[in-house]
Symmetry: C2
Subunit: 92 residues, 2 copies
Amino acid sequence: MDELLLSKVRLGVVAELLSFDWVAFSELARSLDVSNGNLGAHLSKLVDAGYVEEEKSFANRRPLSRYRLTKGGREAFAGHVAELQSLLKATP
Amino acid sequence: MDELLLSKVRLGVVAELLSFDWVAFSELARSLDVSNGNLGAHLSKLVDAGYVEEEKSFANRRPLSRYRLTKGGREAFAGHVAELQSLLKATP
DNA sequence: TAGAGTAGTCTAGAAAACAGATTACTCTGG
DNA sequence: CCAGAGTAATCTGTTTTCTAGACTACTCTA
């Protein structure tokens, strides 16, 4: 059971990154309706776990952090869903 | 997104109750390898939410609490899994 | 009737999530 | 040029949740 994927915010991040590549920090904060501090903490965990890749750069002379899902992150999510689904299927 | 189903212990309870009806408190504690206090707290939440039904009785003159998944609980879990799965499917 | 065992609740400490203040810039208007 | 507003993200302290183990209450055996 993957502890990292037992969180509303982290699942939201993964969901968004499944659809879009290289999403900006502020875009994630806006669409997930979560405070910056909270989002930053959750992103750090996902990055530390290797589920998400972080790219820090500058755009228009302002800092810009962007994120994408790694192969490992995608697989972890798929595995997590499959695991939950197998619980459901194992019953009559 | 169902907050109640974002917990390892509560998911474990649901998983076990999907397979077996009327499972005893101590059986759950044993098979999930979780402390009594912790299990009691999580069961309370599931009961309060109407996901799990609680039956307190006596067996051999000793107290015995047993639990089963309600229809609502089963549906909530199925819905949760479906929701996660739809995220995965929505991508190429 | 002392001691060991069982069932489950209570309590208080640890861990996690969260919001808002803060730092560090950039850009615009007076 | 400099004040004020805006943006990006991190830092900090509070609140909530989780968790383990102590505790209550009772039973059974020796």
